[in-house]
């Protein structure tokens, strides 16, 4: 937090920079102050509110987006550092009105309750399936370990990722 007046004034007065982002396939130019985070830019300047702001300290994963195909917590990413990069958000997962296989699986397997972690969870899982179409349980855990979900206990989410990758849930014991 900015405690002293001169510091705060300096931050307020830092000039905005123009940043080009390719958001879900569309190029957008936005003017941002250096302190503006990617989640703020996406939600407030680009106007896509599907990406959620929760802890704003990189601990919960709700704001996960794909930056040049890699999942990042957009609350810890500065917008000015993303100039010329491709950003994919939850709004970019559908093909028109058609849900992706992963989105369908999330609905089918009880991966969604309150839905607040869902956009970030979907983005982390999408990145996973793009680099590993048939992930095993350990790989799924590793890919989704940064995304907190308080509602489902993760059971539905794991089932959905397995189903979307054409794997049935492995039977245990």
């Amino acid at each position: 937090m900015l405690r002293s007046d001169p510091q705060a004034r300096a931050a307020l007065k830092a000039p905005a920079q123009v940043v080009s982002l390719r958001v879900n396939g569309e190029w957008r130019e936005i003017a941002v102050k250096p302190r503006v985070t990617l989640v703020e830019a996406i939600r407030d300047l680009v106007g896509l509110t599907g990406t959620k702001a929760s802890c704003e300290s990189g601990t919960c994963g709700a704001c996960t987006v794909l930056l040049d195909g890699r999942p990042v917590v957009s609350c810890l990413t500065l917008a000015v550092a993303c100039d010329g990069m491709e950003v994919r958000t939850v709004e970019g997962l559908t093909d028109g009105e058609k849900l992706s296989a992963l989105q369908e699986a999330f609905l089918e397997y009880g991966a969604v309750q309150c839905g607040f972690c869902t956009p970030g969870m979907l983005m982390s899982a999408t990145a996973l399936l793009e680099r590993d179409p048939k992930p095993d349980r350990e790989t799924i855990n590793k890919a989704l370990e940064g995304n907190l979900c308080r509602c489902t206990g993760y059971n539905g989410i794991v089932d959905a990722v397995l189903a979307a990758s054409g794997q049935t849930r492995p039977r245990k014991e």
């Binding site: 900015l2 009880g110 972690c117 489902t152 206990g153």
Partner: protein, 788 residues
């Protein structure tokens, strides 16, 4: 005539699902209004201090600051979680005269942007005179302890800081103990745990043309409206709470919060929308968490394990205002008396003010702590008597048709059956004691344990009942107006299923308009475990009412009696002559033509126990509570590493009786979520507080279960109720009662794995190691004594 159920009892997909997987779902933080100001709250840096002086002039003078308020700018109207003659509202929306916990709201302001608002907060000067503070409830109760608030006038004299008491007894406990074959007394404690809703607290308020529009993350819009209108001194018709999706609550968003009031007041002062969002750090430091409860339990039993007498003393560390603290000490009695028969009981509960943050309800509202304590002691008793954990529970468990001490009835609820099924499914008795009698190689020990619980649903708290309206459209589809708020539990889906079933349309034909206080009827809200029962029955009635009207209009048109007709698949047809038929579209058109434009609207209302007074007494427990008790037995298998002390839940078995499951997939979702939350309670989570300051105000240091901790969760539903179209039905509780038995089961399983009996949660690695070292020490001491 009973036909096969089409939509109810089926795992219909969530109505809100498509919006939630595409980012279209609008949560409060997603609502955007032009010209919105950013609101911020100035909070107390002290746990207990007199406010000598507040000077806001420098903040007001800062360019970009539009309004600053302190308590002097308010009307001084108090509010409380409980508002009864015995427990009148006790808290103002901003601190007056003194602060009583770290993070208490002292002033609020609105500015053009977040940085300006933050700078302005730093410019508010507050002079405090620090007062002695007290954080432990038993210290706070002692005469001469620093007084946070005067004790309740009806509290036992001489005790300090007692905000409220619950006292009840039946039979003769002392005689009961004398007649018992075995008596033991134990003390149990638990930690402070936070709700962990992912969506932070956030409120947007817009004052326009004498109307206050509010969007806020809550669990019941009608409760919020009532409380906001009251503290703002506005008629309820001038306050509209709009629908938004809610990103998790778990009990933590039902109270009125200062930021909600401040956003409204600041908007009224500036004429511009004001949004206040709590940061995660603020939520950890200053907002309301659970209620750490200390329980002293003395139990006397016969040789066969039958409970003869029980004496319980509960002390609730209730925080700096009354909050729901006085409810928890009442509920702790309730969660004691539902599952097991207790012929002689003496219960006393104390809700004690301390200089900690105020407490809120949290999923289970005391039940996890109560069941952990009682179920742990049940296992200790069983071991002492040489009987197994299933037998002692079956000896005492309630079955169908039992009268509870408060006059309520268990109806078809059956805890014994839940216990039997849980034991059988999990193979409990075959696995129990295995690793203790024959320790395997290596450091991993496996244990199994059982716990039971019971929960009430749909009890009477404001606004007590729900109404639902079903509007027929010209094409035969329906719009449902309901105040029910979907916090993730799936209320919109369940209501659509019920309406579809009763009305003879598909769930896709039903569109839900919900939780808007101006356009939907009053609703109990998602906070007393009764929405599917109360609002569900109102929906059933409303749809039934619309169906009756459809049949009546069709009967007139077709020239037959209405009771000769049936309604299904958007067609009204004659029972015996299916040729005689009208589509719903035709019926609605006929109604409009014949009845001078009257279309068809159905209405329904529901309340638990219509003829009973509003609620039981929190002080004496007298009065009926509900007609719906859900019972459950849960088994946990855990693994403990005896080298590191680390424990984890491997598998949970939940056997429950939720009445009739309207949507089994949603029921399963509630179970899995509660198992996960319970394992967080058991092994991971604790808000660490020192002298009133939170030491771990973030999710790095406060660890919630991640995907790595996911436990296998298996469940079985002991279905005790039926659903019949056109008849009231009983669904029971499933959203918060299932966090308790499994928590207790984990404690018992840790003991089964290691021989370490923990009397307080969480079962951290440190505590388990300490227990193991203690066991080792005892063993050596015994060995030495034998040798000597």
């Amino acid at each position: 005539m009973q036909s096969e159920l089409k939509y109810v009892g089926k795992s219909v997909r969530r109505k809100d699902g498509p919006d939630k997987v595409t980012g279209r779902a609008v949560y409060t933080q997603d609502v955007r209004l032009p010209n919105t100001l950013v609101g911020r709250i100035l909070r107390s840096p002290h746990p207990h201090a007199r406010i000598v002086r507040i000077d806001t002039s420098r903040a007001r003078a800062l360019p970009g600051v539009k309004a600053v308020i302190t308590v002097e700018d308010t009307k001084g109207i108090k509010h409380g979680f409980v508002e009864t003659p015995r427990y009148p509202p006790d808290q103002e929306v901003l601190a007056r005269g003194k602060v009583v916990h770290v993070g208490e709201e002292v002033a609020a302001l609105a500015a053009v942007d977040a940085l300006t608002a933050q700078r302005a907060l730093d410019l508010i000067e507050v002079e405090y005179e620090v007062l002695p503070a007290v954080f432990d409830p038993e210290e706070a109760m002692r005469p001469g302890a620093p007084e946070i608030h005067p004790s309740h006038p009806k509290a036992p004299s001489g005790l300090a800081n007692v905000g409220g008491t619950t006292a009840t007894e039946w039979g003769d406990v002392e005689r009961g103990f004398a007649e018992s074959d075995y008596v033991r007394e134990d003390r149990f404690d638990c930690q402070l745990r936070t709700h962990g809703y992912l969506e932070p607290h956030v409120t947007l308020a817009q004052w326009e043309n004498g109307k206050l529009n509010v969007w806020t993350s809550s669990m019941g819009t009608f409760v919020k409206r009532a409380k906001l209108a009251k503290v703002l001194d506005l008629p309820q018709s001038s306050v509209r709470i709009h629908k938004t999706y809610v990103g998790g609550t778990f009990g933590g968003k039902i109270d009125l919060y200062s930021h909600e009031y401040c956003a409204c007041h600041l908007s009224m002062l500036t004429g511009r929308p004001v949004q206040i969002t709590a940061s995660r750090e603020e939520i950890f430091n200053a907002y309301r968490h659970s209620q750490p409860l200390t329980l002293e339990i003395k139990t006397g039993v016969k040789k066969d394990g039958t409970i003869v007498a029980q004496r319980i003393r509960a002390i609730n560390n209730a925080g700096a205002f009354r909050g729901s603290g006085v409810v928890v000490i009442f509920l702790a009695w309730g969660f004691t008396m539902i599952p097991y028969r207790i012929p002689n009981l003496k219960y006393e509960g104390f809700s004690v003010y301390t200089n900690n943050t105020v407490r809120a309800p949290q999923r289970g509202h005391g039940a996890p702590k109560v069941r952990f304590a009682i179920e742990s002691q049940m296992d200790m008793i069983a071991e002492a008597l040489g009987i197994d954990p299933v037998e002692i529970r079956l000896r005492n468990a309630r079955g169908p048709g039992e009268k509870l001490p408060n006059g309520d009835d268990t109806h078809r609820g059956n805890l014994s059956e839940c216990i039997r099924v849980a034991a059988e499914r999990s193979g409990l008795l075959a696995k129990f004691g295995r690793d203790r009698s024959q320790p395997p190689k290596g450091t991993i020990r496996r244990g199994i344990g059982i716990g039971v619980s019971a929960y009430m649903g749909g009890t009477l708290i404001y606004p007590n009942g729900s109404g639902v309206i079903v509007k027929m459209n010209d094409d035969g589809t329906a719009i449902v107006l309901t105040g029910a708020i979907d916090i993730g539990q799936g209320s919109e889906t369940v209501i659509a299923q019920i309406v579809a079933e009763e009305l003879g349309v598909t769930p896709d034909d039903v569109k839900i308009i919900s939780s808007d206080t101006d356009t939907t009827p009053q609703d109990i809200g998602a906070w007393i475990s009764g929405m599917t029962y109360v609002t569900g029955n109102a929906a059933r009635q409303a749809a039934g009412n619309a169906r009756e009207k459809l049949l009546q209009v069709a009967a007139e048109k077709l020239g037959v009696r209405a009771d000769e007709l049936v309604a299904a698949d958007k067609v009204v047809s004659h029972r015996l002559n299916p040729e005689l038929r009208m589509t719903y579209r035709e019926v609605v058109a006929s109604s409009i033509a014949k009845r001078r434009g009257d279309t068809i609207i159905g209405e329904g209302f529901w309340r638990t126990m219509r003829d009973e007074p509003a609620h039981p007494s929190l002080a004496t427990t007298r009065g009926r509570w509900t007609e719906n008790y859900a019972f459950s037995a849960q088994v946990a298998e855990v693994e403990v590493d005896i080298e590191t002390g680390e424990a984890r839940l491997v598998k949970a078995y939940t056997v429950h009786d939720c009445g009739f499951p309207i949507n089994p997939a949603l029921v399963k979702g509630q179970i899995d979520g509660q198992v996960s939350m319970a394992l967080g309670h058991a092994f991971m989570e604790e808000v660490l507080v020192k002298d009133g300051y939170t030491l771990n105000p973030n999710w790095l240091e406060y660890r919630m279960p991640t995907i790595h901790e996911m436990a296998e969760s298996e469940d079985a539903d002991v279905i005790t109720e039926q659903y019949r179209v056109g008849q009231p039905y009983r669904t029971k509780e499933v959203g918060e009662g299932l966090i308790s038995g499994v928590l207790a089961a984990m404690g018992n399983a840790v003991y089964d794995a290691t021989g370490v009996r923990l009397r307080s949660t969480p079962f951290s690695a440190e505590r388990i190691l300490e227990g193991l070292r203690d066991l080792e020490f005892q063993k050596r001491k015994k060995h030495k004594e034998v040798r000597a």
